[in-house]
Symmetry: C2
Subunit: 388 residues, 2 copies
């Protein structure tokens, strides 16, 4: 494989929603296109940032794109995994250990664009390339090419009909075939949050079809009392109850709550993931690991994170990547992960799935289009208009 | 205080040196100038990135400078510490928890430039402002305005006279009045490293005057054996023996080595620092904490980190900030920290100290020039030529 060219654009993602911690009005993402050449011809790989951490334009231009375009030799590997591990080392040249933020997203968006290009060069959907070269889960309940899928939304709105809109959103998500629905908590009073949850549970018909995302709102003593109330509801999971790096706080949650915990979307490296698993007292088979590989140095690092977790007694089914990007859908279906998140905000780049994917009874059935299928997701693909 | 303007430039720091992990040829830093207005007039604050993590031009322009320049109201606070805590909250608006890298340096360089401006507006050197508003150590052996100081160098060079050059460097450092000398290890065979250390110890006349910096080279079993050899020498400290986030590995070092450990330069937030102190089994009063506040969200976050550490039984004397920037010299002398690092590579922005500071018998005696004194350090000040 040779790198022919790399282009990037920063895309505004301005949204009026907010979670317990931040507003998303100024949010951006990076779209990148990498052209590669292999023995089969030239292929363009598309990559798109994950959500919530801003685009990486500056870092891409300052450090990471030049490292890729400076590769003049051919890069080879027996498998795509081996080849990408070499690319990864080039991307991380002269980068010190620690400090895993921002650059992990710059590397992630480039790395996943290269996976898109590589899959296209093999004429395979990415899920099939990953299944072939990285292996599908031993204990998956679904065959390669399929994955569980859920709908995520329920952000706070300023409108007074928030709870009604939320119920409607949950209902639409489940009716569209998504397996369960996730909403935001921790950004309002416990009274309002409980009434929002109640609306959603009522709309869904079962509390196990509702997960809640606290965006770290429940640190401290008051938080513990609120969590204990939430624990009575029988929710699918409580996501990010405390600061992502508050391992003692997380351990407390795991000791005191029977509801599954989900966390990991703000853990951006193998080193941080090891600490989370080592110190967080998360429960394999019950809790959910949401590391977002587009924010966390890409699939190469994600495979290392999964391997570490397996050594700690976890299964790939315990992994459900954050954010709902198209490449995560392929990783879930190819590696046999626990499922895929999609945003229900209509029309956004993280909503829904590519056109060749069907969603029914909580299962996404991926098509055979080569690559990650960004071209088949019009709301996402249109953001690449000036890059192709 | 009002923000009048913020300007930044990326400065190449290309150097032929390398450590155990990376080369510094493509290294950059950010220089920033912030003009503020207070009741006493207008003042320009200068900030300069720390070393080893690249400049932050992209992040500064994309997110952090706009947040500062968008402040149209006056920012007030009873003390500089309270005022800066408000600025900090503005800088971190809509930034999610976790992922502490890169942005922590962008915030750090802006935040420290503002401290320079604030100190100038009070007609005080920064050390005196910090002493007044954040307090000097209770148990410091030196009065405010003075700090222990050491020389850091001993990078690997390609020349065959490496060990002789190293001995010369150590000797020059100690003769110039620096209290001890630090060199790099872990980037060559143990045989070569031991002979380099031997040269330096011989030049210094005492092994306790020599510290070594491993830049994370001693992870794994082979590393442990090498560390046990180093532990026999009676070195001042062994710095960053393992990956900065490898808390179990660090705990092993602290249990098995009698030599003091130094670490923390790649720990960039209060949350990460808490984990280091909670899980690393570092020994208060023996080991050294090197958090580099210019890389770690600035002095506001550093004061939080120090407070946490004090609650864990540490003293401010156990803190010795990484890198040798002028603002760290003032923090050490104002807060009563354990000392200040300076680079011995002549002429660089992290070498030596401002002209109004004297260095004698291992002690730096800071002058009274208002601010951080960057204007009095010609090798650093010239890098601001196009910004002023």
């Amino acid at each position: 494989m040779r790198i022919i060219s790399v282009d990037e654009r920063t895309i505004p993602l301005g949204s009026k929603t907010k979670n317990a911690a931040i507003s998303f009005q100024a949010m951006t993402a990076s779209a990148v296109v990498i052209e590669i050449e292999t023995s089969r011809g030239r292929f363009k790989g598309l990559g798109f940032s994950s959500y919530g951490r801003y685009g990486h334009g500056g870092l891409l231009r300052e450090r990471f794109i030049p490292r890729l375009t400076n590769i003049t030799d051919k890069i080879s590997g027996e498998t795509s995994v081996q080849l990408m591990a070499q690319v990864w080392d080039v991307l991380m040249t002269d980068e010190k250990e620690g400090g895993h933020g921002e650059r992990s997203g710059a590397v992630g968006v480039l790395e996943t664009a290269l996976w898109d290009a590589l899959a296209k060069s093999e004429d395979l959907p990415l899920w099939a390339l990953l299944e072939r070269d990285a292996g599908h889960s031993d204990d998956s309940q679904l065959p390669p090419g399929k994955t569980a899928i859920y709908a995520s939304g329920g952000h706070y709105r300023s409108s007074s009909s928030d709870a009604a809109e939320l119920a409607d959103e949950a209902k639409r998500g489940l009716e569209a075939g998504y397996g369960w629905f996730k909403l935001k908590v921790g950004g309002a009073s416990q009274f309002i949050d409980l009434s929002r949850i109640e609306s959603a549970v009522k709309a869904a018909g079962d509390s196990s079809l509702i997960a809640v995302d606290a965006n770290c709102a429940y640190g401290g003593e008051n938080g513990t009392a609120q969590l204990i109330e939430l624990d009575q509801i029988g929710l699918r999971w409580i996501e990010e109850p405390v600061n992502p790096l508050d391992y003692p706080g997380l351990a407390d949650c795991c000791q005191s709550l029977k509801t599954p915990i989900a966390t990991g979307e703000n853990i951006f490296s193998q080193a941080d993931s090891k600490n989370l698993l080592h110190y967080g007292e998360l429960r394999p088979g019950l809790d959910n690991l949401q590391m977002d590989f587009v924010l966390a140095y890409g699939l190469t690092e994600y495979l290392r994170i999964i391997k570490d977790a397996e050594a700690f007694g976890w299964s790939r089914r315990d992994f459900l990547p954050h954010a709902g990007h198209q490449v995560a859908l392929h990783a879930a279906a190819g590696l046999g992960l626990g499922g895929h998140e999609t945003a229900v905000v209509p029309g956004g780049p993280f909503s829904s799935v590519s056109d060749d994917t069907t969603v029914e009874n909580g299962i996404a059935n991926l098509g055979d289009t080569p690559g990650t299928g960004i071209e088949n997701k019009p709301t996402l693909f249109k953001l690449f208009a000036n890059l192709l």
